[in-house]
Symmetry: C2
Subunit: 300 residues, 2 copies
């Protein structure tokens, strides 16, 4: 989003990002707090240069319904903790076996496998502790947010389901339905949940929540297809990881199934639908409309 600073979205991003960084810094134990090695590893991975996309989406969705997004910062930061846990565990030798992440050695390359496993476990645990400890919202709303996040991270339709299916699909041909199911669970579920949790904390009603879910499904899918495209096309320096790794591991990807150009067309179509859905959310959803346009612009 740093590519679009002139937009409302860019301005919102510039405004909320320091708050997200600050919330993460306050939530994470000090690197010197014993047992230091796991806290160092948690901070190493959380502060490795992530775009904070999920927190920003949560805060943008919150802002569609209420202006005081700063109250939701701890919960937004918790979404980033869950995202980071999933990256640490996905990079492990037994999983995707990635030595680099965001241009630096992956957590297990830096701290060893045992500490990396525990750092991931700890970030997931801390995410729930953080949401439960957020005093800004009524308990009933917090309980629902905990459930939404757990489902998005879980084995039925969540991140773990996506990772299991992704591992199972390596080296085997996948059809379009299976590919969408992998992506929807692996990336889409947490993106959708980030938007939904933001809106829910802001007190959005049933009807806007349903519209937002439809929007979130498309945005989540578009993000994953963009990631697949970038893995194929971006120079290593931009990507921060080994480019073409997906293809080398015979992973199921959109460019692998449809080619890069058709994948770009799909992102444009999906984000265009998402923009239309965001518009139906009314005046406050301008940021969400722009997220669709922003994603679309990255395909050119």
């Amino acid at each position: 989003m740093r590519d679009a600073p002139e937009s409302r979205l860019g301005a919102f991003f510039d405004r909320v990002k320091p708050g997200v960084e600050d919330a993460l810094d306050r939530i994470l134990p000090a690197a010197s707090a014993p047992p230091a090695v796991v806290h160092e590893a948690m901070r190493y991975s959380v502060f490795a240069g992530g775009k904070r996309l999920r927190p920003v989406l949560a805060l943008a969705a919150y802002s569609a319904f209420r202006p005081d997004w700063d109250r939701a910062l701890p919960v937004a930061a918790a979404l980033e903790l869950v995202h980071t846990y999933s990256l640490i565990h996905d990079d492990l030798p037994a999983m995707d076996d990635d030595d680099f992440r965001r241009g630096q050695p992956s957590c297990h390359r830096k701290f060893g496998e045992a500490v990396a496993i525990l750092a991931g476990d700890a970030l997931l645990t801390l995410a729930f502790e953080t949401i439960a400890g957020c005093p800004a919202f009524p308990p009933a709303r917090i309980v629902e947010a905990v459930g939404m996040l757990a489902r998005a991270a879980g084995t039925r339709e969540g991140m773990i389901a996506g990772q299991v299916r992704d591992l199972g699909a390596q080296g085997a041909p996948v059809d379009p339905e299976a590919l969408e199911a992998i992506h929807r669970a692996k990336t889409g579920a947490l993106v959708e949940a980030s938007l939904a949790i933001g809106a829910h904390l802001a007190g959005a009603g049933t009807d806007p929540m349903a519209r937002l879910a439809a929007y979130g499904r498309r945005i989540g899918l578009a993000f994953q297809i963009m990631d697949d495209i970038l893995d194929e096309t971006a120079p290593a320096g931009d990507l921060g990881k080994t480019p073409g790794k997906d293809r080398a591991q015979e992973k199921a990807t959109y460019p692998g199934l449809y080619g890069v150009e058709e994948s770009r067309r799909m992102v444009r179509r999906i984000t265009s639908e998402a923009r239309d859905q965001a518009r139906e959310l009314g005046e406050g959803a301008g940021l969400l409309v722009e997220i669709g346009a922003y994603l679309e612009s990255r395909t050119h």
Copy 2:
């Protein structure tokens, strides 16, 4: 506890255990539900013959304050999910590298490392989903239970802190304070939290909660010392894992530091103190008094 069926504790155990098993069965996705392999792995480890100690402690603590313990069954089962996740991850090759658990191949030996890591992640996630989805208690109480469990599982004074310290202590001499700190975090925190969460859900006040915490600290420590003693002295068939493994890995243990006989004396002293504290909780805490006596009896 099956050794003491004639006691009130044994009768309570016989009464609640089927409910715990049933709750676990209802909470866990079917082994055939896609993606099946992770659900199979979760069920394999959860139904590997665990004693359900943490759920029973939670329900016993609940029963000290209210009779309708069946309302707390989903939360009690969630404690077992967290315990099982910690066993799966602790057994991984990068951690304690245990091939057997409860007499069967450990999760990663049976399903591979990737699935074992994900099954552990999934059980932890499902525990929070389960507590958040428990309709029997007011949201404020559920939120507090989520926080208590997350802290008990976390890096400050919880299970992950204990595991990090335990890994760091292997092969190096430890002093009594360091040993107690490892054990208190690794086993004690979740045992204490099980008791505290049970009492909290039942609406226990501040004063009983403080007494229960003091009791729980002792019970948790006694359980871990007993585990250390059994690792040294029990035949392999009884233990379900490789006996003497702690010593072979140069782990920090009570028998290693104090010898088996002195460790038994310590369990008797600690459980005797715990019994006294349980008595101060009044009439309803008979089961908790008996837990102390039961532990004491196992040292003979």
